[in-house]
């Protein structure tokens, strides 16, 4: 596998920029914004490496979200904030908004009175829609898996009866 370092840095830089911008929209404090940027940069770096290795966007996004989720859980004690939210902010730059928009626009194109090559339009629309669903599913599943495998102290602390569960974790 050959990695184009400048492309990797480009993706990590803009991933970090996008994550910190959305961190401000989500009202993260100033103290947490560098961690949002780090989380976004890590996510995009892992996804780019996965894609360079020949993985699909969906598989690479799954690996990236899992990496960000694990890093967040491992750093929970040090950061002292809800790292699940941080991991979600880091994964925002991987949300396939382009696939969603192109998929829906493709379906719209299919419903005009006399569409050009309807079979090809339908196949493209279906491909974009499925890629959106699978990518967002891959990110959400990876984040959930890391949350359940490596729970931090903020999660699952209470049962309905109020008994505090002793959760095995890294803390």
């Amino acid at each position: 596998m050959t990695v184009d370092l400048s492309y990797l840095l480009h993706q990590a830089l803009f991933g970090g920029l996008a994550a910190s911008g959305f961190g401000i929209l989500f009202n993260f404090g100033w103290r947490d914004l560098p961690w949002c940027a780090t989380s976004g940069a890590l996510a995009l770096a892992v996804r780019t490496l996965g894609q360079e290795a020949g993985w699909s966007v969906e598989a690479a996004s799954f690996a990236a979200a899992a990496a960000v989720g694990c890093a967040g859980q491992l750093l929970h004690a040090r950061l002292g904030l809800d790292t699940n939210d941080l991991a979600a902010a880091g994964c925002i730059p991987m949300v396939p908004g382009l696939f969603a928009a192109e998929g829906i626009l493709g379906w719209y194109a299919l419903t005009v009175p006399h569409p050009d090559s309807p079979a090809a339009t339908a196949a493209t629309a279906l491909e974009f829609t499925l890629r959106f669903i699978f990518t967002i599913g891959a990110i959400g599943t990876a984040l959930s898996i890391t949350t359940h495998i490596l729970p931090n102290r903020d999660q699952g602390g209470m049962t309905k009866s109020g008994r505090t569960e002793r959760l095995g974790g890294l803390l």
Binding site: G21, D82, A100, Y108, T141, D154
Partner: protein, 269 residues
């Protein structure tokens, strides 16, 4: 010999009921704020439970819907059920974290329901928000960065950043006026993508379609999409499905705004 005094017993039952009602009110208030600020349902349930137990409840049951929350708490022979409406769902992690920290403080004991409620009110009022211009600028830059990740050329970078910032300002202003969130999404998508197409064309961009989509990515509900999956996996399929439906509807309205912009400007897909 001990005599049974029904009046005295009714009085004590009433007092206990009032106390439980205040505990339910405090727990529901926290749950509502957490729901409205983008917390996952599991987190809402855990913190609501922490608060109710910390204030003296023995058993807590919470039912969470997209638009309302119901709680039943009990102590001894008494129980109280209360319902509260949930307002518009958004994302405000600073307030989420503040309420979660308060829930942990309450769970350690020593707080009364009135103190807990007043602390929550204080947090809602005092938790700082980034200024409007700061949010708009940050969102603009984030959308332009998104565009670069999608393969957009450099010529469209500043047009996307500027037009997405305008879109965010308009979105915030319309939502403050109580406009419908779906209609706002379509209008802002149309405005931002139209302005972007005009500005990017003027700047000599050859990736107009990507630029138009990059400028509306601020509207894509990423956090609710993740929350929907978390909720379904955590055993809250009803709320998770409701969130997923809202995400799908928002995407349709965003795409409609972009489509109208493409038709008006004659941009080919």
């Amino acid at each position: 010999m001990k005599t049974f005094d029904p009046e005295k017993r009714a009085d004590s039952g009433l007092r206990e009921g009032r106390e439980l009602d205040r505990i339910a009110e405090a727990a529901l208030c926290a749950a509502r704020v957490l729901m409205e600020t983008g917390a996952r349902t599991q987190v809402v349930h855990e913190d609501c439970s922490r608060i109710a137990h910390g204030l003296g409840a023995e058993h807590v049951d919470l039912r969470s819907g997209y638009a309302s929350l119901d709680i039943t708490i009990s102590r001894g022979m008494n129980s109280v059920t209360r319902m509260e409406e949930v307002g518009p769902h958004g994302v405000n992690y600073r307030l989420t974290h503040a309420i979660r920290e308060l829930a942990q403080r309450i769970s350690r004991g020593g707080m009364t329901p009135a103190e807990a409620l007043s602390e929550m009110t204080r947090l809602k009022q005092d938790t700082r928000q980034h200024s409007t211009w700061m949010v708009a600028s940050a969102v603009g830059i984030a959308c332009a960065a998104f565009g670069r990740l999608l393969g957009m050329d450099w010529a469209a970078f500043i047009p996307v950043a500027g037009c997405a910032a305008v879109g965010q300002t308009v979105r915030q202003s319309l939502l403050r006026r109580g406009a419908n969130v779906f209609v706002v999404a379509a209008c802002v998508a149309f405005l931002a993508s139209t302005l972007t197409a005009l500005a990017a064309r003027w700047a000599g961009s050859t990736t107009l379609n990507l630029a138009m989509i990059a400028s509306v990515l601020l509207l894509v509900p990423g956090v609710p999409a993740f929350d929907a999956q978390h909720d379904i996996l955590d055993g809250h399929p009803t709320l998770g499905t409701a969130r997923a439906v809202v995400v799908g509807m928002l995407l349709i309205f965003i795409a409609t705004g972009v489509l109208i912009a493409r038709v008006v400007l004659g941009v080919r897909q």
